[in-house]
Symmetry: C2
DNA sequence: TCGGAACCTGAATGTTGACTCATGTTTCAA
DNA sequence: TTGAAACATGAGTCAACATTCAGGTTCCGA
């Protein structure tokens, strides 16, 4: 699998990246085109020639920048992970506590998915095309999420819970499915209402509320 | 797509099924072999010849029973949906109320996934290979689930919620991800502990519990 | 203004694998 | 017993790419 080729990270670019401005521009074009094609037609339906045509470069040029079809795909998954984490951490910055952060996070996630349908699909498909990249995506994600929950629990903002890893995966699954259902499939539903409903479930659960003040705002 | 060929369901078998015992046996062999191959290697890595070899029949025989590679795949997805729903509804039969049903359901789901990893993978991959079958799978599932929630809410067993469709998708997503994480990836973790932790989250949410009796049993 | 590094190109190669078809073989009702 | 419907078969067809390669072109420091 690995080749010890001397560079510190051989996953994204083969040597150490383009040397000239022209090269960097071409690489970006290829990445963008690949994201659009993979997102629209899926990995197996996408031919390298589709990508290079969309990018406006020759077929052979692709192999100047990538060792294989799978390599671009992996690069895209990694890129998507970074972008998603960034978007979420940004959106959650102003939250007063973890419960509010969850609320904001879901909303932001749905918005993000709607704005990046193509790349969202790439991530999902990675499960079958590049399982390792897929696992990394969620491993990185869950590690950060888990830490947030642990700290919030320590602060008493959320219940201690029985197993944070389980909670994190349940929450990621919920968001992911909602992203698919309302971000990709039915992208004209009211995001605010949906994320409120979802946050309510994640925060208060299914159990009937006792006759006291509840945690809903507005 | 549809051909009005006179049978009521042209999705699984091309005409109206095998006429002889021999035929039925061959069909079953092919379906089983296909499930195993697709589950182990994935759709695109699986060649028809792999399937027929595993089934112990000639290559051409495949096309006596299926119009195309995709058709077996779709048949498998549908079959898997029916089996999953059956397993879940069985497991939930003895539940005294919906909250308990959720608890039992998660446990049963994890067990089921562990016992059917191959077919579980087939369902996931359907999202890219046969999107329509995938949607149907979850559409059918969510319709039933939704009804359960609505009735339970009417009985006061769960909170009314803001949007049952959203709740259902969030819950399905949570289970699905837990199935992947603990059913497929790490299949030696303690299912009981995991399903307890998950059920606790789904039932009580993340919010810190007030100092009263909670809803957990045992 | 020269030389070589970086970049670009698309025809050609080679493989793979879904699907077809002409030709059997088996089953079974009459 | 028989003929035709049902079933079985695997060599051959054919189109679809991923990847290579040998031969350019552009850029830039010396």
């Amino acid at each position: 699998m690995s080749q010890h080729s001397g560079s510190e990270n051989a996953d994204v670019e083969e040597r150490s990246g383009p040397k000239t401005e022209r090269g960097r521009r071409t690489l970006r074009r290829l990445l963008d085109a690949a994201g659009e094609e993979f997102g629209a037609r899926g990995y197996h339906e996408t031919a390298i020639s589709h990508i290079t045509q969309r990018a406006g470069v020759g077929l052979g040029t692709f192999y100047v920048y990538f060792k294989s079809k799978e390599e671009v795909f992996r690069a895209l998954v990694a890129d998507m992970g970074a972008r998603t984490r960034h978007a979420l951490s940004e959106s959650v910055k102003g939250a007063a506590n973890r419960l509010e952060a969850e609320r904001l996070g879901i909303k932001a996630y749905l918005d993000f998915v709607r704005g990046h349908k193509a790349l969202y699909r790439v991530v999902m498909e990675a499960q079958f095309v590049a399982p390792e990249a897929y696992r990394d995506y969620y491993r990185t994600f869950s590690a950060a999420y888990r830490q947030e929950l642990a700290q919030a629990a320590k602060r008493g903002e959320i219940s201690p819970g029985q197993d944070d890893e389980v909670r994190v995966w349940a929450l990621m699954g919920a968001s992911t499915f909602l992203g698919l259902r309302y971000g990709v499939w039915e992208d004209d539903a009211d995001v605010v209402a949906i994320s409120e409903a979802a946050a309510d479930l994640m925060i208060n659960g299914l159990a009937p509320r006792a006759k006291k003040r509840d945690a809903s705002s507005s």
